[in-house]
C-alpha cells in the first residue's frame, strides 16, 4: 500500500459534488473572463479617446507581447529573474526556518532575533535593492541578497508564530520515543509548520518579486526588470505593459499553480469535511 491509499472520509453527500463539476468550473471562470474582456474594452476605448503614444491600444500591446514571447527573449529574461528570486527565496527560507523555530522554542532566541525581524519588516524593499546594488554591483549575490533580505523577516515572523501553535503533546511523544533531531525536523516540525510555511512562502515570494524588479532596474544588465527599464528609456509604453503583464501572469501561475498544488499535497492527510 502506498501513502496515497487513503480511505475516503465517510462523508455522506459526496456524489452531489462530483457530477456537475465541469459545468461549475466553466461557470466559475466566466466572471473572471468577463472582467478581462471588460478591462481590455475599457482600455481600448480610453486609448482611442486619448489618442496618445503614451496610452497604446490593445492591439499594439498584444503585438508587443507576442513579439517578446516569440523571439525568445521573454523565456530567457524570465528564467534569469526567476533563478535570482528562487535562490534568494531559498536562502531566506532556510534561514527563516532555523531562526523561526529557534524563536518559538527559546525565549532567549526570541528576544535576540525580535529586533532584527521588526527592523527587517519595516525597511522598504527599495532600500535593500539600493544597498545591494551599491555593495555587490552586478554579481549574482546582489539580487539574491536583496530578495533574501526583503523576504526573510516576513517568513521568520510567520514561522515563529507557527511554531507556537505546534502541539506540545507531540513534542513530548517525540521525546519519550527518542526521535532523532533529523526525524523531528522532517516528520514533526516541518509538517506541523506546513500551513505557516505556505503562508510565509506566499508573502515572501510576493515581496521577492517586487524587490527583484527594482534590483534589475538599478543594477543588473539582464532580467525582466532590466527589460522594463530599457522599454522605459525608449518610452515604449506598450513594451513596459507587455513585460509587466507577462511577468504578472507567470508569477500568478507559480503562486497559485505550484504553491497551491504543493499545499494540497502536504494537506492530503486532512479529513475531508463536508460542512
Amino acid at each position: 500500500m502506498t501513502a496515497t491509499d487513503v480511505r475516503p472520509a465517510p462523508a455522506a453527500p459526496a456524489p452531489a459534488s462530483t457530477a456537475p463539476r465541469p459545468r461549475r468550473r466553466l461557470r466559475g471562470g466566466l466572471p473572471a473572463l468577463a472582467f478581462l474582456v471588460l478591462l481590455c474594452a475599457a482600455w481600448q476605448v480610453m486609448s482611442a479617446l486619448l489618442d496618445s503614444v503614451l496610452v497604446p491600444g490593445v492591439p499594439r500591446i498584444a503585438a508587443e507581447l507576442v513579439e517578446i514571447v516569440v523571439d525568445g527573449s521573454f523565456a530567457e529574461q524570465l528564467g534569469i529573474t526567476v533563478l535570482r528570486v528562487g535562490l534568494g527565496f531559498a536562502l531566506a527560507f532556510v534561514v527563516a526556518v532555523a531562526v523561526g523555530i529557534a524563536m518559538g522554542r527559546s525565549e532567549l532566541a526570541r528576544r535576540f532575533f525580535e529586533p532584527a525581524v521588526l527592523l527587517g519588516l519595516t525597511i522598504p524593499g527599495l532600500v535593500w535593492a539600493l544597498l545591494c546594488v551599491i555593495w555587490f554591483g552586478i554579481e549574482l549575490i546582489n539580487p539574491v541578497a536583496a530578495v533574501a533580505l526583503s523576504s526573510a523577516p516576513a517568513l521568520m515572523l510567520t514561522i515563529y508564530q507557527g511554531t507556537r501553535s505546534v502541539d506540545p503533546d507531540l513534542l513530548e511523544m517525540a521525546h519519550v520515543y527518542h526521535f532523532s533531531r533529523a526525524t523531528r525536523l522532517r516528520r514533526l516540525w516541518l509538517p506541523a509548520l506546513a500551513p505557516s510555511l505556505f503562508a510565509g512562502a506566499r508573502l515572501g515570494l510576493s515581496l521577492g518579486w517586487k524587490v527583484i524588479v527594482l534590483v534589475e532596474v538599478f543594477g543588473m544588465s539582464s532580467g525582466v526588470g532590466y527589460q522594463l527599464n530599457n522599454a522605459f528609456a525608449a518610452q515604449n509604453v506598450a513594451a513596459v505593459l507587455a513585460w509587466t503583464l507577462l511577468f504578472a501572469i507567470v508569477m500568478a501561475v507559480l503562486e497559485y499553480g505550484v504553491l497551491q498544488g504543493l499545499e494540497r499535497r502536504a494537506g492530503r492527510w486532512r479529513k475531508a469535511v463536508s460542512v
Binding site: 487513503v6 519519550v176 514533526l188 492527510w269
Partner: protein, 241 residues
C-alpha cells in the same frame, strides 16, 4: 521467553512544585514522595483528578524535572501510551509505528506485526485522521509495545474512550503485557482497570500527594473483568479514594 525485566524505578524524596505563570500561585504537587517499582512489576497509580498522578508519570518518563529528590530509572527503552493517542496525523498509521522503531534502532518491518497484534492490519496505510478514537488509541498501544520497551508508562490510556472500547483495549493490553517480562506504571482513575491490569495498586491522595493505600493483586493472569475477587479489590480501592 525473553530475559527477565531488569528495569527498576526508584523515586526517593521527590518534590515538585508548579508555579502558575499568570497568577504566580504555587502548587506543591509532590513533596518527599518515594516509590519503588520492582523489575517485572506493573504498578497502578490511582487517585482523584489533580492528585499528581500524571506529574509522577511524567517525572519517570523524564518529561518533567523534579525540584527535589532522586529519580533512578536507568536509561530504559520507553513505551508510553498517553491519554490522547499523540499520533503524527500527516503520516500513515504504519509510519507512525516505524518511526518509533527506527528511533529505537529496531527493524521497521516489525510495525506490521505490532499493528496486527492490535487488529489494525487493514488500516496500516491509512491516515490516523480517518480512524475512530479507539482505533487511534490502538495505534498508540501498538507503537508503545512495538519498540520492545523495558519500561511501559500508561497515562490514563483509555479514559477518553467509551466503556465498551476501553474494556476491549484493557484485555488487549493484558495480552500484550503477558508476552514479555517488563516493568510498568499505569496511571488511571478507574479502580477496576487498576485491579484488572496491575500487580500492585497504590492510591494517591492529598496535596502534596501521599500514598493513602497500597494493595497487592495476587490473581494470576490472564484475569477476567468479571472476576469477583477483582471486584472486591475494586470496592476497597474505591473506599480508599
Amino acid at each position: 521467553m525473553s530475559a527477565p525485566a531488569a528495569t527498576r524505578v526508584l523515586l526517593d524524596g521527590v518534590g515538585k512544585t508548579f508555579v502558575d505563570a499568570r497568577s504566580g500561585a504555587r502548587q506543591r504537587v509532590l513533596a518527599d514522595f518515594s516509590l519503588a517499582v520492582e523489575p517485572g512489576e506493573l504498578v497502578a497509580v490511582v487517585g482523584a483528578s489533580g492528585t499528581g498522578k500524571t506529574t509522577l508519570l511524567h517525572i519517570v518518563a523524564g518529561l518533567v524535572q523534579p525540584d527535589a529528590g532522586t529519580v533512578d530509572v536507568g536509561s530504559p527503552r520507553l513505551g508510553v501510551v498517553f491519554q490522547q493517542p499523540r499520533l503524527l496525523d500527516w503520516l500513515p498509521v504504519r509510519q507512525n509505528v516505524t518511526l518509533a522503531l527506527e528511533a529505537a534502532g529496531l527493524d521497521p518491518a516489525a510495525a506490521d506485526d505490532a499493528l496486527a497484534a492490535v487488529g489494525l492490519t487493514d488500516y496500516a496505510g491509512s491516515y490516523p485522521t480517518v480512524l475512530s478514537g479507539g482505533q487511534r488509541q490502538r495505534v498508540a498501544v501498538a507503537r508503545a509495545f512495538a519498540v520492545e520497551p523495558d519500561l511501559v508508562l500508561l497515562d490514563e490510556p483509555f479514559s477518553a474512550l467509551d466503556e465498551l472500547t476501553a474494556r476491549k483495549l484493557r484485555l488487549l493490553l493484558q495480552e500484550l503485557w503477558m508476552q514479555r517480562q517488563r516493568t510498568g506504571m499505569l496511571v488511571t482513575h478507574n479502580p477496576l482497570e487498576a485491579a484488572l491490569l496491575a500487580d500492585r495498586v497504590i492510591v494517591l491522595a492529598g496535596r502534596p500527594a501521599r500514598i493513602a493505600a497500597s494493595y497487592r493483586v495476587e490473581a494470576e493472569r490472564p484475569r477476567s473483568p468479571e472476576d469477583p475477587n477483582l471486584f472486591d479489590l475494586h470496592s476497597r480501592i474505591v473506599a480508599a479514594l
